[in-house]
Amino acid sequence: MSNVLKLDDVVMRFGGVVAVNNLSLEVNKGSIVALIGPNGAGKTTAFNVITGVYMPTSGKVSFEGKDITKEQPHKIAKLGIARTFQNIRLFKKLTVMDNVLIAKHLHLKSGLFGTALHMPWAVKEEKKMREEAEALLEKVGLTAVKNEMASSLPYGQQRHLEIARALATSPQLLLLDEPAAGMNPQETMELTHFIKEIKDEFNITILMIEHHMDLVMEISDDIYVLDFGQLIAHGTPEQIQRNEKVIQAYLGVEEDA
């Protein structure tokens, strides 16, 4: 298996805070990789570095062998990395459909004027975009609410929509930042299946941050554990569950178990 994403000694500093410290990791094609660790460990920051929101203080990020350390976020999205956000960032006042269509904008072929003036070829492209978006919404079960305003959806559906929106950019690598946050166990279970499904359906690789250990342990092929910005463990779910350091820093000692 070849790696899709590779981080080499990435350091991210904010003033005095070292949010990510010498992080190196690899994500293999077609796998589901989890990034876990206590709050403030630097997981989201790592995502932000990967997606170009922050430029790392030092280190290198490569995607499919290409150095993307200094790329801008929208270029990275175009290259094939999509993400969701820890605190949902939908285009709240736009419809569900529009949210998905916006994510398709990056592959638009018709130029500005063709598009703006609704030239025949642009109209055709728009039609295709809409069809694809409909299909996607169908898959994530949001067809019924496609004309609703995004902010009016219940929390769980917003999470789904965020994933659908990310998928609409046709990514090869999908970064999910706490997708199960705020979901009850039932929903979390459904999400577990959903993630597996989309991975196969869209033939993508997934890197995910999650605190729900059920989910993580069930679907990850590989887990990285961060603490204070530093990698403290890496391995399969079984290895991680048994890792002393991880139990100390994150999983907690199960005194009564």
């Binding site: 904010f14 989201t44 932000n48 929101v53 956000f85």
Partner: protein, 297 residues
Amino acid sequence: MGLQTFMQHLANGISLGSLYALIAIGYTMVYGILRLINFAHGDIFMMAAYLAFFGMTIFSMPWYVAFIMVIVVTVILGILIEKAAYRPLRDAPTSSVLISAIGVSFLLENLATFLFSGKPRAFPTFETMTYSLDMQGVSVQVLTIIVPIVTLIILFILLFVINRTKLGMAMRAVSKDYEIAKVMGIKINNIIAYTFAIGSALAAIGAFLWGMKYPQVSPLMGVMPGLKCFIAAVIGGIGNIKGAVLGGFILGLAEVLLVAFFGQLTGYRDAIAFILLIIILLVRPTGLLGEKTAEKV
């Protein structure tokens, strides 16, 4: 250019700059707490100038009585404006509040035009202030010496109030976090009202001194000084009092020195403020002494 002329220019620049600084502090105070560009500040300044004018001419108050009266009434005006136009928008997006501020500014200008007519009036001055001292060929008005002193005194008083008193502590707290300030038991509306009161008082003092130096009042007199002082505040780093003073001096000196060294460009003088502003914003997006902020994703 002779040394004497240069010194004269310098004196002019400092004198103008310190007036800018004084008014800029008011902008910065309000911005620092409310994150609001109080576009109406220049017009509050104008209203204060009119109050002083009417006080001293029609009601023939002695200047010190007028001075106190102007400060009191302007403070009330400032608080009223805050109450009527900004408080209802406390939870609204910044753009709504900014538009409200522009609206207030527009209203004050039109109201002044309606009430006082568009005609400029002569601001009463008195000899003790306007008397020119000759310092080895450099003539300096008494006012030119007084204004920077007043500005610096006010700066130090405000720094003291803000950094050393309970009120100041509350102001700083409110500026960072309304909600938690509330949870501390701080009545944020009162704190904001105090801030406006201080800002308006500064506008009043500024108007008084401005009137002495440029003895003329008109409904639109606040527009340009307002804009320039706002720019001064932004240059210095809006929200930072020391920055406002720094920005004021820089702007005043820049304007006068442009005239001094590039006489043929004097027509571009008003552009200087903006050019300076844009250059500084490009180099330091939050001004010279402004704090950097980045959005956490």
